[in-house]
């Protein structure tokens, strides 16, 4: 019980005193996961839309692949991204291992199938009648896509929320490709794990409180957008 109180008090002080290292860790967490989510949206929303609206041979295989990808274990992604980015790996010349860029890559790999899957499900649920009606009204291909995306905006925002939630809470991949280097690639999840193994449980609790607050804040913002969208 003492431990919980100690941890929450410590979190409060870290925030009040604006501990520089903690601020840096928090900002980096936000930047890495934010950018990874952005990449996942740029790739995943069009891909999910295409998969939902098109018919082609092997579509079922592609859809199952995306659905499996939604549960990609972060450590597996971390391992494969490491193998590719290591100095003597295929992309080693880029010198990206143990940088925030490597973490963005790994987290994008994790988030993209999630965003794709949610978008696909949302678009697939739209009434096919809307599509026919639009076409009969003479909508162009792009106008049609735009209307459908607007119709499915609740699902698309859910996709963004799920993708962001998936990467901001992930540790396996970031630990492996980032290395938890102080001042360079340390983010809230990896710092929390490290503080636990150091026996600094109060600090670990403090970091976890910050992480939860951050995740809640962002998700709240996105949910706000989503729910407003309902009445537009």
């Amino acid at each position: 019980m003492d431990l919980i109180v100690e941890g929450v008090v410590k979190a409060f002080w870290l925030l009040v005193k604006v501990d520089r290292e903690v601020v840096r860790i928090t900002l980096l967490t936000l930047q890495v996961s934010g950018l990874a989510t952005l990449i996942a949206v740029v790739v995943g929303v069009p891909l999910g839309t295409a998969l939902a609206l098109s018919t082609f041979r092997g579509r079922q295989v592609a859809v199952s692949l995306v659905n499996t990808g939604m549960g990609l274990p972060p450590v597996v992604v971390g391992l494969w991204v490491s193998i590719v980015l290591w100095r003597y790996g295929p992309l080693g010349f880029l010198r990206l291992m143990y940088t925030p860029a490597a973490m963005v890559i790994a987290q994008s790999v994790i988030a993209t199938p999630i965003v794709t899957g949610f978008t696909m499900a949302g678009m697939g649920q739209l009434d096919p009648g809307v599509r026919l009606q639009m076409l009969s009204l003479g909508a162009s291909r792009w106008q049609l896509l735009w209307i459908l995306l607007r119709e499915a905006r609740l699902s698309v925002l859910a996709a963004v929320i799920a993708g962001f939630g998936g990467v901001i809470s992930e540790i396996g991949a970031s630990m492996m490709v980032g290395g938890n280097v102080m001042g360079q690639t340390r983010i809230l999840t990896t710092a929390t794990a490290m503080e636990v193994s150091r026996g600094h449980f109060d600090m670990a609790i403090a970091l976890s409180v910050i992480l939860l607050a951050l995740a809640y804040g962002i998700t709240f913002g996105l949910t706000h957008l989503q729910q407003r969208g309902r009445h537009v």
Partner: protein
């Protein structure tokens, strides 16, 4: 859905786009900055105990200030650190598994290996001591008794330096540990100590990590002082002649820094203030067999 011409950008959507763009701009800054290749970077692969004890938090900033190099400390088990070195994926190694390190040097992957410091391993367990090992002088004897009593023993199980040492002691005791009482955590030292404490089991730990975590653990030091329990740390360069992408000058600077007199002084006094005793004994320049006497 009537009156369809050009749909205006819904406010919610516009705000989402704006939000993502801002996140993106903020996000690219560190990524782009850190992606620039530079020979000022030194990758140090090391064991968890040097990081978890806080020693590297003191030494690394000093090294960076002194030399201008930027160190990426990758704290993993010694097994993984040596494996990274063997593949040329790190520049310099700080480990505590002398036999495995010598193999790496002999294979040509590592070079310029120097003794830095030592502390010792201790066998810890519940105060009740169900196997009755308290005060034994021999670690192997203690392990034999634990196995005979089938008392819970939590092993690191991660091929770390501590795990290698533990296997060495089992071999010396002539016991092949197996069965329900022998549990492999597959975790770092801190986590393994927590597990041993929760399960009221025995485990082998380095003294530094134990001292750092002691106040949260229900574990006591039961066996210590056996010569076989020495925990010896060496620093070594990954061989730049074998791996062209290794930062040779940076690694050399780090090795020199670790054995320099001023650094050794800091190592020898590290932890005295917090724990009342030093966590490491500085040994640069000594021979390995002069230790522990």
């Amino acid at each position: 859905m009537s009156g369809f011409t050009r749909p205006p950008l819904a406010p919610a959507r516009r705000r989402l786009v704006l939000f993502l763009v801002i996140l993106g701009i903020v996000g690219t800054i560190p990524g782009a900055a850190a992606a620039t290749p530079t020979s000022r970077e030194v990758i140090l692969a090391t064991t968890t105990s040097t990081q978890d004890s806080g020693l590297l938090d003191v030494l690394i900033p000093m090294f960076e200030r002194k030399t201008g190099y930027i160190v990426k400390t990758i704290a993993v088990g010694t097994g993984q650190a040596l494996a990274l070195g063997a593949r040329g994926e790190a520049d310099v190694l700080l480990c505590h598994a002398p036999a495995a390190e010598m193999e790496l040097v002999q294979s040509g992957a590592a070079t310029n290996r120097k003794l830095v410091m030592h502390n010792d391993f201790v066998i810890v367990g519940p105060a009740g001591d169900p196997a009755g090992i308290c005060g034994l002088k021999s670690a192997a004897e203690a392990f034999k008794k634990i196995a005979a009593a089938q008392a819970v023993f939590v092993s690191r199980g991660d091929d770390s330096g501590t795990h290698k040492k533990e296997k060495e002691i089992w071999a010396k005791a002539g016991v092949k540990p197996a069965g329900r009482w022998y549990q492999e955590a597959g975790a770092g030292m801190g986590q393994t100590l927590n597990i041993a404490s929760e399960k009221e089991g025995y485990t082998l730990t380095d003294r530094a990590t134990y001292l750092a975590l002691k106040k949260h653990l229900g574990l006591k030091i039961l066996v210590q002082g056996d010569g076989a329990l020495l925990n010896i740390y060496h620093v070594m360069q990954v061989n730049p002649e074998k791996f062209d992408k290794v930062n040779g000058p940076g690694a050399l600077a780090f090795v020199d820094f670790m054995v320099a007199e001023s650094t050794q002084k800091i190592i020898g006094s590290f932890g005295v203030k917090e724990y009342g005793e030093p966590l490491f004994f500085a040994d640069a320049g000594k021979g390995e067999n002069e230790l522990g006497r």
